[in-house]
């Protein structure tokens, strides 16, 4: 849960100078007709969504954990993954019995190309020699996942189930807090201000300034 939207709105209203000097912090002036009550809250939610998507798209971003709430269990080989934001975080094999009993991350086969990996997976799935050393492998081709769970069963497991973990995001225009972590607050407010200043094409220079600020202010995200 991030910063409260009401506090961010106070900052935004003061920055666009839409509050009377004698009024409370962030109170929209009745004399200004440019911004409506609730407008900045909407812009903040949009800016929050933009930042959330950027976080989810970067697998190295530590804040990605905030949105890692999507899961899909019991995936059949050749089935499609559910809609998600960014890449799959992990594909897990839950194995009962046999050499690979327990829950572990699947890995791609050794093949260098997609075709080679799929061919390797096909042979492992058949596992004609009932080789118990066939490890849990999967290949992701776009939104489709292929895996060798059947081969792991033939190698001695009594049951295998495959699941995936990934990021999801749902926008909420009634939210009272930003969904992104606190360290993104300034960037999100700057982004909302960029949109607010650009309204009706009025203050484009200010809009451009805050748009740059929104991008520059991001903390270093690489591992």
């Amino acid at each position: 849960m991030g910063a409260t939207i009401s506090t961010c709105v106070e900052i935004a209203v003061e920055m666009v100078n839409a509050s009377d000097s004698a009024a409370a912090l962030g109170a929209l002036s009745a004399n200004q007709e440019f911004y409506k009550s609730g407008e900045f809250a909407r812009l903040l939610v949009l800016a929050d969504a933009k930042r959330a998507k950027a976080i989810c798209m970067d697998k190295n971003n530590r804040a990605r954990k905030t949105f890692l709430v999507g899961s899909q269990s019991g995936i059949a080989s050749g089935a499609q993954l559910n809609a998600m934001v960014g890449e799959v975080e992990s594909i897990q094999f839950t194995v009962t019995g046999g050499r690979w009993a327990g829950t572990q991350a699947g890995t791609p086969p050794i093949g260098q190309t997609l075709a080679a990996q799929l061919e390797e997976l096909r042979i492992e799935t058949r596992n004609v020699t009932a080789n118990p050393e066939i490890a849990p492998h999967y290949v992701q081709d776009g939104g489709t996942v292929f895996h060798n769970a059947a081969g792991v069963v033939l190698g001695g497991a009594s049951a295998v189930s495959v699941s995936a973990t990934f990021c999801t995001f749902t926008i909420n225009f009634s939210a009272t807090s930003l969904q992104c972590p606190d360290e993104y607050t300034r960037s999100i407010v700057a982004d909302a201000l960029a949109m607010g200043f650009a309204k009706d094409g009025m203050k484009t220079a200010a809009a451009a300034y805050f748009s740059r600020l929104a991008e520059e202010q991001l903390p270093a995200e690489a591992a």
Binding site: S73, G74, I75, A76, A79, T94, T96, G97, T125, R126, N127, A149, A150, G151, V152, V153, L154, A157, S158, A159, V160, S161, V162
Partner: protein, 49 residues
């Protein structure tokens, strides 16, 4: 066992939708999940397809 039969899996009871691996592996649908289970030797038969 054959397609359509019910079997118990770690995810719950489900229906066999496919037989693979020469009759040794059952692909079982438990609600919206798919589980791959080993069929005991005495319960194996060809898929018949």
């Amino acid at each position: 066992m054959k397609r359509g039969d019910k079997v118990q899996t770690p995810e719950g009871k489900g229906k066999i939708v496919e037989i693979q691996g020469g009759g040794k592996v059952a692909v079982v649908k438990v609600k919206d999940k798919t589980v791959y289970v080993r069929l005991p030797e005495e319960k194996r038969e060809d898929d018949g397809r």
